[in-house]
Amino acid sequence: MRKKWIGFSLVGGLLVALAAVVAQQPSVLFVSTQFTPIEEAQRMRQVILKDFSGRVEFIPEDNAPFTNRILSEARAGKVNVSLVGGLHGDFPPLISAGALEPVDDVMAQLKDRKFSPTFVNLGKMGTGNQYYIPWMQATYIMVANKQALQYLPAGANVNTLTYSQLREWGANLQKATGKRLLGFPAGPRGLMHRFTQGYLYPSYTKSAVSKFRSDEAHRMWSEFKALWQYVNPQSTTYDFMQEPLLAGEVWVAWDHIARLRDGLNQKPNDFVAFPAPIGPYGRGFMPVLAGLAIPKNAPNRAGAVALIEYLTRPEVQLTTLVENGFFPVIQTKLPDNLPQGTRMGADAIARQAQSNVALPSLLPVGLGAKGGEYNKVFQDTFARIILRGEDIRRVLDAEAANLRRVMNDTKAPCWSPDPASNGPCPVN
């Protein structure tokens, strides 16, 4: 009996001592929708955050639990999270609930960082205040196995590829190998909807919402359906394209740069990276911006500010690129000793953004918690037209009604590349 008590008091003593240590050095609870894959989270904790002077508890969460957590902490009046990291589109529900505190003072401290002005502006979320500090950026590009290059259609160049050339390329590949070697991440956690929203629709209609059911969109879907006959049907199970690329199941793929980097890094000599294809209106593409924000009544605001300062330092921005594949948001020269795969990705991104046909479109803005339902419209349209072979006109008309409901519920005005609107973005 006595032994037990000794044990208890030992454990208790340890707990008190531990609590004292923790109290001495308050840590920053940093919750993020980015770096949810376990390897990325580990690299964030062990490498990227290594030189930060304070203590950080980095917790990546999926989208829905993330939003719920921040909102319920704000509602309960007991905030534990000091720093939140998320994509541009993750912030509107938090801001409209009043859960975030403006960070204009932090922005003022970071004057010397040379942030891209576009990104700083986006961080104001259409208000007069800075709501998040730009953290890192990424986008989606194409990667091909070098074996596929010999089958490019005559006169085609990967850097100026059009959608019809991509279709021909797929056809040539099938003729030569007997296999369907194009690939898209249309799996349950894949980002196929970003392809339709930010690449296909803008390239063919210069819009994603207002011309959703236009004749141009009709033509786009029928051309994409023709292209899909050369797509590996396992695409509906692919979440990250790097694995099927490495396995040789597909030779040409589109995906988020962070979901291609393992392929590029592991076998840089086997692959080429290049910009997305070009459509009638130009090369639609979607830059992705992540930012850092501070909740209202954050328990450790000073720590959070210090952590923002740390994460936006040029050297830490480069570490983030090398480790987790997200690119700097500040103007900085990429060093020559970058891993070859990372450099290939960086070159493709630069070519995609800087060409004269570039047609950047934003991630959905102002949809709040309805962002998921907005994506669903595009996912369902894709599934019905491409996978189930339903009549294009009928599907577009039916799904346009769903899209209209999302727009009217959220009263979100149009965002680029749709022309600006008064009131909710119309679905014509």
């Binding site: 989208n63 829905a64 509906t236 396995a247 199941e249």
Partner: protein
Amino acid sequence: MRSERYIPYVLILPSVLFLLFLFAWPLVEALLLSVRGGDGRWTLEHFQRMASDLYFKDAVRYTVLLTVVMVPLQVVLALCMAMLLGGINRGRDLFLYVWTIPLGISDLAAGIAWLAIFTERGYLNSFLQAVGVIQEPRLWLSYETPAMLFLAVVAAEVWRATAIVFVILVAGLQLIPKEYGEAAEVFGATPWRRFWRVTLPLLMPSLQVALILRTILALEVFAVVVALGGRNLPVLAGEAYFWYNAYQSPGVAAAYSVLILGISVVATLVYLRLMRPKQEAAA
């Protein structure tokens, strides 16, 4: 001692609290979530949206189909295994442990293991290519081959979840006194007849438990299906997950879970009614 009367209640209190806190409360919350709109008013909107969704009919169809195919298969298989085990003397424990290994494996891990078998560059294709049955890797798990996908899920689930039925039936068999079987044997009953007339009726309570448990779990099937088929084989629990996580619409997700709850309750009642022990009916 007066205090002894309370001891049983005190002892079950933690588990009752646990159940109230982690089952009853979330259950009520989920029910409320499914019938309340964003503005707090009562509504059937979530159920309407669920029913009009693209994947709803397929999800119902595949969930029911999976349950109807899987559960009988697993019960028959587990019964055979349990009876075989009863006939083994040496090495009985070894068989018992090996057969129950899948119990210790998480369903997602099991799904991924079977994915490694059925995927384009998987073990099955490598094997078939090596023995010369096929020249090129075949696709087993694509949206173009739903029947094959369905069979793959059934195979994975039978492998993964037969063990739980098996364990329940082995325990049930051990509870049956040997005397009944021996008495029947004395009266000249064949082994087959003894199984039908003695073992099976006495095993009814265990079978009932196993069937109820397996059916409820089959209606909730999720991780194996998602790992093998993604969205190509929609099931109810998977749809609840997608509505909560991807579409961020907890109301519709709750409507799906209420639907699963409803089907589970009906299935349980049907089992309880159909398999009511005979003595009870007579008494």
